[in-house]
Amino acid sequence: MGKRKKYKVKDVAGKLAQGFLKNPLTAVLGIVLLALGWIALTTMPREEDPQIAISGGAVIVAMPGATPGEVENIIVKPLERKLREIRGIEHIYGMAMDNVGIVNVMYYIGEDREDSNLKLYDKVMQNMDKMPKGVMKPLIKPFDIDIDVPIMTLAFYKKKGSLLSTTELVERIKKIQQKINAIENVAKTTLKGAHKEQYNIEVDMGKLSAYHLSMGQIMMAVQSLAVNVPDVKGRTKDGKLTIFGVANAIESVEDVKNVMVANYMGSPIYLRDVAKVEAGIDKQNFQDVGLIKRKDNNIKNSFEKEIPQVTLTVAKLAGTNAVFVAKDVEEMLKEHETEFEKEGIGYIVTRDYGERANEAVNELMHHLIITIIIIALMLVFALGWRESIIVTFTVPAILAVTLFIAFITGQTMNRITLFAFLLSLGLLVDAAIIVIENIHRHLHSHDADSKSMEELLVEATDEVGAPTNIATLAIIMTMVPMAFVGGMMGSFMKPIPLNVPVALFASLVVAYIFTPYLSLKLLKKPTHKHHSKKRDNKEGS
């Protein structure tokens, strides 16, 4: 110190450096930061794409027998006018078809979903009294991107030689569906291509006219038998209850066959005489799903003929980890493997967003690490390996802070969040580089000997403080307006303006606190020709 007056700290940079330089808690702080980052990294929900708040819905109004022109005038136009009154709607799409009118509304991106749905219900319900006659009750279907977009689809099919019938396969899958729904964070599961069991009565038209019957008669005959009535309670004289009831007339498909339809010339005509009656599947449902797979699902084998499949879709709750949900589902299926094997049920995972999300996130994490190593190597050559270690340490610390802040503010880890990190990576080592470069310069300058190590570090940090603050602030300012970009793209890119400023701010604080601290531990003043030993001893302490 000697003759020179003590350096006066001017900037926050210097104050931070001074405050933490000899503080024993600095090391603890560093470890805590890294630990928080680790917690965030492992528990944060992972997704491939960021969540975009798309809200909207459809109002479906059926009017049997109406032509598109009628539907347009009676349903679509008044409904559109009413819905137009709702605030926050960007577009209204009306469709007038035969028998039905549909009005879709799309809210502006970013509108609160619950609010939007409520507003839609509210508007339709308020105007129920204005509904025209002969129109069925309107159906309101808000769409929900989290619940509606499945993260997993599973194709179930019957293996060759399986004895299961189509409906039995569906029954088995329904059991699995029940179990999957019980898994934590699973939201909506649906089946596609599932056929229900049904008794089909196929009337032969020729016989119909031969026996002089009408379809209405057949309908009435079946309906009159297919009634289910609750049991009746009869009371005995001494006040006890005796329960009795009519048994269901139709218990099996045989009972349907034996329904008497009419009397023709004195002899009864049974349903089996005029129609083919069988227990089958709902044949009027043409929404089949086919699967074309390779033999043994091996990519080297050739394709087999198309077989019917039942697709089970699994969606997750909003804000939960797609990776975990998908993994749980897969484990659940593994448990049933032997059961499937026995019954000849095969399955293929035809969509797995969990895996995709994990892959995308891991790939980017990998990129992040490679980038950090490359920058560290570059610094070894430019500044020396001790300096390089110091700068390299600051990177995980900054990322840890940013990640943790993202975690507690309810963001998910997705491609864009990680891109925000990759983007900021080049920027956030800057503060540390500038500080370490100045420390380096000061250590090698000619008046280094006259100052103590601490004083020198604080001075070096403080000196570059002001311009670094301004420059970092300038970059933060370029990012802030991006948060106000609207539309899909704005929502999609939102993690960038949310995270980059945080990372940059963290980079400043970390650079001012940890760079001088680590420099004190790792760096030594270069030995000049007329150095004093006293100084070196002091550094070691």
């Binding site: 009337v203 038209m205 293929i348």
Partner: protein, 578 residues
């Protein structure tokens, strides 16, 4: 003075060399801007990304049966089954595939008619596959179109890629708005024809129902009343016979659902011999209705059969009648085909219509048509990805201007001088040269077209901050040299440039290396390239151009810095601790 310092000193000492530097920079700037109109650099919102899946949408004309649709999908399946990289194929008849991001806006969940089908194709892992999914669809598209779209006339087949960014209805959407539906439909078809003739556009589709022949059974009210029947009965019997109805249900303990009992005419007997009026009549004669008196009345007695045209669906957008014509781009930016098609449309429609162009807004491509004879007005509105792109670019542009203003104010607060702040701002703005040239180079290097995208713009905005930091450190250091060491201005600038060159280079290299892996990503490639090339340009600008400007600026002198040093302490503290 070091070698580099002497080099800088030489430049700023000579008026000629200074002018030369400014001139060269200006030339570079305008030359790079010229790359847009000359189409050396193409703009697009987001490029495609390779994925492990894609889907195929099949639309046979409205009114087609599921059998016809199945024939088309069968044909597509046969083509797909020859592909080596396909793992499995799922075909969803009369419905959409389980909802995905593309289907969300393309209305996949609304599909439930017999004339639609969607095919979901799963590919092998993209890391081990040579051919990206977007090249595969590009290759298969013409083959499928040629072989399968003629099986049922009027079939539309679309190959849908997963969107790399936010999903849109289609790359190009032309909304034909007008009250006269017939005329609008005609216009829509003409628009579709022009679009399909435009290079680079594929999967053109008019999103309207086709008009097909159908038969109407007109109930003879008089006869119905006299026979003791009701129209409802007539309707029911027809529906019951041909479509079938669930007439009762049976509860069961052994099944998870009730078992419905379904009544219909048998498939063999209800099939019509052909779709003529007589065939229908002969079928209907065997259908009887029972009246209140228990007498049988043949259905044909009480109805007349008439051939009519089907009435297509009427679509509204924002309360106006509108028909959408959509098209996808085939590996090209949607901007250029759009401009081509629009030119052709203006030419085509000006025969029968008065064509007016729209004013400057994000709907700037719109065309207003007025029929020369009838005076009816129509609007051709360009929507879809193009609109989203324009909106995004407009918003990003506004964000960019806001960023410029914010930085400028920040610098003015710090330096208390407009000219210094201006120098720093100009210096950072010039990194645009690097961004544009960088995209051109990237386009030359990569196989596919490398577009200037929305993410490139984000990169450029971020660059503004980064390169202003370079100039900032430079100006700061030069001023402190003058103030503390009493150096002469030119010398101080030269020394400052040389001393600051190392950290400027270091941070630049850090950014370049940090963004190197970004550049290979499909979506963020633009951002990566913008950062890399922009940073290179920024280094040149701040080490050559900025010193020249600094020398010219009167505001840079020692005294000023002394003042500011004392003054700036305070506001700066506040701004950073907040």
């Amino acid at each position: 003075m070091s070698g580099f310092a002497r080099f800088i000193y030489n430049i700023i000492n000579s008026r000629f060399k200074k002018t030369l530097v400014i001139l060269l920079t200006a030339v570079a700037f305008f030359a790079s801007l010229m790359m847009f109109p000359t189409k050396l650099v193409l703009a697009k919102m987001l490029p495609g990304k390779s994925d492990n899946t894609y889907s195929i949408y099949v639309d046979t004309p409205t009114g087609s049966s599921i059998e016809q649709t199945r024939k088309v999908t069968k044909c597509i399946d046969n083509i797909l089954m020859k592909e080596k990289e396909i793992k499995n194929i799922s075909v969803f008849y009369a419905q959409g595939i389980p909802l995905d991001y593309a289907g969300l806006v393309k209305g996949a969940s609304m599909k439930r008619t017999e004339n639609v089908a969607e095919i979901s194709v799963n590919l092998t892992d993209k890391h081990t596959r040579d051919e990206p999914s977007f090249l595969m669809t590009q290759r298969l598209r013409p083959i499928i179109d040629k072989k399968c779209s003629n099986i049922v006339k009027g079939t539309n087949i679309k190959l849908i890629e997963q969107p790399s960014g936010p999903p849109t209805l289609a790359s190009i959407v032309v909304e034909v708005q007008g009250d006269n539906i017939k005329e609008s439909r005609k216009l829509a078809v003409e628009v579709a024809n022009i679009l399909s003739k435009t290079d680079g556009l594929v999967d053109v589709d008019v999103m309207a129902d086709e008009i097909y022949d159908k038969y109407k059974l007109i109930p003879n009210i008089d006869k119905i009343a006299r026979s003791g029947l009701s129209i409802k009965q007539v309707n029911n019997i027809l529906y019951l016979s041909f479509e079938g109805m669930i007439i009762a249900t049976k509860n069961s303990e052994n099944h998870s659902d009730q078992i419905p009992i379904f009544l219909v005419l048998s498939d063999k007997t209800k099939r019509l011999s052909n779709s003529s009026k007589d065939a229908i009549r002969s079928k209907l004669t065997s259908l009887n209705l029972m009246n209140q008196r228990g007498m049988m009345v043949p259905l044909t007695e009480v109805v007349d059969i008439k051939k009519v045209k089907s009435e297509p669906m009427i679509m509204h957008k924002d309360l106006k009648r509108s028909i959408n014509v959509i098209a996808e781009t085939d590996m090209v930016s949607q901007v250029y085909p759009l401009l081509d098609a629009r030119e052709k449309m203006i030419e085509h429609f000006s025969k029968n219509y008065i064509v007016e162009k729209a004013g400057f807004s994000t709907y700037m491509f719109d065309l207003y048509l007025t029929n020369k004879k009838t005076g009816e007005k129509f609007l051709l509105r360009w929507d879809g990805e193009m609109k989203v792109t324009l909106d995004t670019f407009r918003d990003l542009g506004a964000a960019f201007i806001a960023a410029l203003v914010l930085i400028f104010f920040l610098l003015v607060i710090y330096y208390k001088s407009f000219s210094i702040s201006g120098i720093i701002l100009i210096g950072s703005f010039l990194s645009l040269i690097g961004v544009i040239v960088g995209h051109w180079v990237a386009d030359q290097v990569t196989q596919q077209t490398f577009f200037l995208t929305a993410t490139s713009l984000i990169g450029f905005i971020a660059l503004m901050g980064i390169s202003s930091r370079n100039s900032l450190l430079l100006v700061d250091f030069a001023m402190s040299l003058m103030a503390e060491h009493g150096m002469e201005k030119k010398e101080a600038i030269a020394v400052a440039t040389a001393t600051r060159a190392k950290p400027i280079m270091l941070t630049a290299v850090a950014i370049i290396l940090g963004s190197a892996l970004l550049a290979s990503d499909p979506i963020f490639g633009g951002l990566g390239v913008a950062l890399i090339s922009g940073t290179v340009a920024a280094v040149f600008v701040s080490l050559l151009f900025v010193p020249v400007l600094m020398d010219n600026a009167k505001a840079i002198n020692g005294d000023k810095f002394e003042d500011t040093l004392i003054d700036q302490e305070h506001p700066n503290d506040i701004s950073i601790t907040r």
